[in-house]
């Protein structure tokens, strides 16, 4: 186990280093930030001073070494556009993204499991068929298009919910959150639903397939033969057995919820990390791009590592890449 974790950590560090190199060279080879960030009306001396201040006059490899040394010290450079440290900027935006992602995961689980159970218990009823066809749509429709439809229907036509932004936030343990006020929840509903849609379809399908399979098992027949109520058979015996794969998938997919938050945040103007990265790409704010990519890649490496380890603990049949022998 220890050997496996160490090997996976080393591999992760390698991936991270390769990413830093790739991202740095790539980002610093695009265009000339001087043209974008410095007022074209400025005179030569001003431009030269700005270039020196931003460190853009150094050779590329030297810029990279400086960047790498500072990255290891937790300093990922200053945002060109906001003039505050990139790391701080991203960490400030992170709670908004995490809140959105958690809200989306909650919507997906709270709606997905009951709907999947329903469709699994009555696969031939019109409701079951409707749920399953709906889940196919949820898979194949692009997230951003559904988001636009939601805005069109609930914000523009009906005027029930705001079309974008985060609304007022209140502090919970020093972190700004939306879900404590009604106005905040109103702003959260549409983006969270939009982001949840894909995972919701996934959970519906998993639950439905699991339920249909479980209903044929001997333990369910035995429970029914014992005269247990339907609610108890489904709520305890079936649900307990289908939850393991569902919990695993939710864990595995949480990373991709954060990645897809980029799209949802851009549509709804939700002030999280995803909107920040798109805005930064558009103005070539390179320190922020580099810092975002490194932070998100590290986050994914950690999530993947944690899922691997937890999975091996939950299910002893899983062998960890030969490390256990």
């Amino acid at each position: 186990m220890a050997a496996f974790v160490i090997r996976r950590l080393l591999q992760s560090v390698l991936v991270l280093w390769l990413m830093s190199l790739l991202v740095f060279v790539g980002v610093y080879a695009i265009g000339n930030p001087v043209d974008i960030l410095i007022n074209p009306q400025a005179d030569q001396a001003d431009i030269a001073r700005a270039i020196a201040a931003l460190g853009l006059d150094q050779p590329l490899w030297q810029q990279y070494l400086t960047f790498l040394r500072q990255a290891l010290l937790g300093d990922l450079g200053k945002s060109f556009a906001y003039n505050i440290p990139a790391l701080q900027l991203i960490l400030e935006r992170m709670p908004a993204t995490l809140e959105l992602a958690l809200a989306a995961a909650a919507v997906a689980v709270l709606l997905g499991i009951p709907l999947g159970l329903w469709a699994g218990l009555a696969p031939d009823s019109w409701a079951g068929k409707l749920i399953m066809s709906g889940s196919i749509l949820g898979f194949s429709l692009p997230t951003f298009w559904v988001g636009l439809l939601l805005i069109m229907l609930f914000a523009v036509e009906l005027g029930w919910l705001p079309s974008g932004g985060r609304g007022p936030t209140s502090l919970l343990l020093g972190i700004p959150v939306s879900f404590l006020s009604w106005e905040g929840i109103r702003h959260l509903i549409l983006p969270a639903t939009n982001l949840a849609l894909f995972k919701l379809s996934l959970i519906i399908r998993l639950t439905q397939a699991g339920t249909r399979e479980a209903l044929l098992q001997d333990y369910v027949k035995f429970a029914r033969a014992k005269g247990l109520s339907n609610a108890r058979v489904v709520g305890v015996h079936v649900l307990k057995n289908i939850l393991i794969p569902i919990v695993t998938v939710i864990g595995l997919e949480f990373g991709s919820v954060i990645a897809f938050a980029i799209v949802t945040e851009s549509i709804f103007g939700w002030p999280g990390m995803g909107k920040l990265i798109i805005d930064s790409i558009n103005v070539l704010d390179r320190p922020v791009i580099v810092a975002y990519l490194l932070i998100v890649v590290s986050l994914f490496i950690l999530i993947n590592l944690a899922v691997d380890i937890v999975y091996s603990l939950l299910d002893p049949r899983v062998r960890l890449g030969g490390a256990t022998d």
């Binding site: 991936v15 805005i151 851009s266 798109i278 790409i281």
Partner: protein, 293 residues
Amino acid sequence: MEREPTPLQRLVADFARSRLALAGLALLALILLAAVFAPLIAPQNPYDLAQLDVLDGRLPPGSKSGNGLTFWLGSDDQGRDILSGIFYGLRISLLVGVVSTLCALAIGLAAGLCAAYFGGRTDSVIMRLVDIQLSFPSILIALILLALLGQGVDKTIFALIMVQWAYYARTVRATALIERGKEYIEAAMCLALPPARIVLRHLLPNCLPPLIVVATVQVAAAIALEATLSYLGIGVPITEPSLGLLIKNGFDYMLAGQYWISFYPGVALLLTIVAINLVADRLRDVLNPRLQQ
């Protein structure tokens, strides 16, 4: 005497038994025709500035333009006919989707076959690469590449190739490993045929059926991802607008109630994706030997 139907005839007959799949195929054919013949059937060339009049801007569906043209689906802020914009946008969307899928298919096929046939170190290096890549969501990889490379049709295609190849590599390897253990490959090896011949003439054709299904689904996924990237403003440039970019351009007006600029390109995107998925779904059933009687 009645002749035995060829395998292809049997596949076609199987496919045609699902009316939904036939509807999907018909819709897909219409979409392809509209894209290919866009310059001939579009009421207006939306990128010829001489044909545009800003006074015709943002007219609702069904209005007449200054020079007598009817905007069946309305016009955008520049006075472009939305219907013509959709025909031309489909060209870009389909081009990016199909080209990137074919290139990724070729790369994934080569990588997967090499991994399965040579095994050992080659296999573990290729599959480790595939594993690492598949542990990141596709949109994140595309975003990283486009953040590095900048906008452009060619760059978007490249990013989509890099996103997709790993799916094919994994599918091909899994299929090829099963086929490799079968007797006809053993027989070919006993004949001392060169490895290239065994891989290309014997292994490859037998790995194709599952690959065709994955490729069809992936075209739809590639089109959706391209639309998403272009919507975010990091995909194709404004000079070659795909459906995603058309949708983006109408977004601000949508909040003002002028829905048609974004809505109809979105419907076109939706129909394309649904049509491809219907066909892919039927192909999966038809090509799966386990489901045949």
